[in-house]
């Protein structure tokens, strides 16, 4: 690695460069230590919504229903951003919000009979992929330095 000098190992983290340890810690960080009740509730709502959606779809779903679904997904994503502490999970919640918007776009495309929105969805997916690349790089970089992906640890800058 050429840029080693940019990443001086933190004190108190003598083995911060051990890839295995990093992976283990990352896995521990990503795995929820306990499932927050709120998220469980949200997940349940989501599940119900999907089921209801499928059922309704059989009965000739309207565009409005898809829009409501997308709103629900968007809300779940936004809610997740507020309650989760892990940067990766936060990021996944944001992806959820983007995809909620995608659903809305596709639904509206169907409603108006204008397929332009399908192209928009493709663009959004590409952009989201780029965002993942940059986002993961940032998260990994900070994780290497601090040994944690908990966003609540990042409070040096405040007030």
């Amino acid at each position: 690695m050429t840029e080693t000098h940019d990443n001086p190992p933190l004190e108190g983290h003598p083995h911060a460069w051990n890839e295995a340890v990093i992976e283990a810690e990352a896995a521990a960080a990503v795995a929820p230590r306990r499932l927050p009740r709120a998220l469980a509730a949200a997940a349940a709502v989501l599940l119900v919504a999907i089921v209801v959606g499928i059922v309704l779809h059989r009965r000739e779903a309207t565009v409005g229903m898809y829009v409501w679904l997308s709103m629900l997904l968007f809300a779940v994503g936004a809610f997740g951003v507020l309650i989760r502490r892990n940067a990766l999970v936060l990021f996944m919640c944001i992806e959820l919000m983007l995809n909620a918007a995608n659903i809305a776009l596709v639904a509206f495309a169907r409603g108006t009979g204008n397929v332009e929105a399908h192209a928009v969805v493709l663009f959004v997916m590409i952009v989201a992929a780029a965002e993942v690349a940059v986002g993961l790089a940032i998260i990994v970089s900070i994780f290497r330095r601090r040994g944690s992906a908990n966003v609540d640890d990042l409070t040096t800058l405040k007030w």
């Binding site: 000098h5 990021f91 495309a109 929105a117 663009f123 986002g135």
Partner: protein
Amino acid sequence: MPVVQHWTVLLPELALVGGAIFLLLIDAAKPSQRGPHLAFITLVAVVTSGVLAFFQWSHPTTSALGGMVVGDKFGVFARFIILGAGFLATLTAPAYLHRRGLDRAEFYALLLLSTAGMTLLAVSSDLVMVFITIELLSLALYVMAGFERGRLESQEASMKYFLLGAFASAFLLYGIAFVFGGTGTTNLLRIRAETSLGGVADFRLVGLAVALLAVGLGFKAAMVPFHMWTPDAYQGAPTPVTAFMAGGTKAAAFAALLRVLVLSVPELRWDWQGPLAALTVLTVVFASIIAVSQTDVKRMLAYSSISHAGFVAIAVVAASRSGIAAALVYLLVYTAMTIGAFGCVMLFRDGDGERVHLAKYSGLGVRRPAAAALFAFFLFSLAGIPPTGGFWAKWYVFFAAIRSHHAWLAIVAVGASVIAAFFYVRVAVVMFMQEPPEGDEMELDSSVGLKIALALCLLVVVAVGVAPGFFLHLAEKALPFGG
């Protein structure tokens, strides 16, 4: 609607992207190369782009990419502000990066890509383009904000900026989806047609959409309550990046906000003017008050940039020709004086680092009178004290607000600027009225690029101060979509 389609509208952006690709290629050919030639290539790309944009000034309005991008005078004016920010940031960056061992080709490539994103945003005439360009400029800025990987603040700034930026983009995208649902299109001019008399727009959806778009663009422009990333990101990011973000992003975001709000949904004016005015008041008052108790100069300048977003937003609320012109002049002056102020922070070295704490500025006016006077000049301009350019910028904005019957907004803003004057002037007082500490020689950064950049900023602020009418006249010609 501009009928003429021509790809040459995109030439300035092609120059920027070309520069970025060239930088990446030479970096691939000879990895990890450093040195001033990288900055020079960047400057060449920016200047080329500026020259190409300049030729569009006299052209009639054209569009490209099937109406997703428009080449109008408004775009040229906004591009010039953005390219100016890029140019100045490139001038200030090499010395700063060199001292920290970070002067690598990626930085300049990212800077160029981000600039390209900003200029494209300023000429977007389609919401999809707005989304993509915002992502383009943001993704580059996220990385640039965290470029100083050895410093925790820089990483933290990057992380916060990234998470919140992505969060806000989701709102923007959702807004775009609703616009599409409400009007069946994402093209700004067609949205305008659909929301006008005889259109088929669903106004409930469009209303929701405008609210969500305002969230996304308000985030980029740093308006309260979508501003909270700003102080942290500005304080943590490397100072050249901060200067660039403060200047360029704001100009691009407001250019887009003007196009979206004032041009594509003018019929909904009575609906969005009220809430936007509320956000504006919140922005100027809140930011000015919080800035009062800041002791970190970079963070103080960050709050100052938030309050300036409020002032530009006043011109957006005015939603008139004079409002658009006032906003452009304001952005021009604001960019010059803000980059000037951040440049001065870079100028005042403290050992190997910068002088960021206010207490470290005491006696600077005694030891380095010329540099301190320059900083004070930029601060006075930011405070809007006549006869600086900042004064005229505020003057035109207030005038536009009064003409569109928003005098109360101007009055509130004047009150807030009185509060703001306090913390600007306080820095000058600390510099000139307090004794310098013993043994602190207060060396200045000797970088030539930084000095040139500061001179250019000074030139712009003084020029607008001396001949504001000239710039206003230019800005009045620069109406979006050719009027």
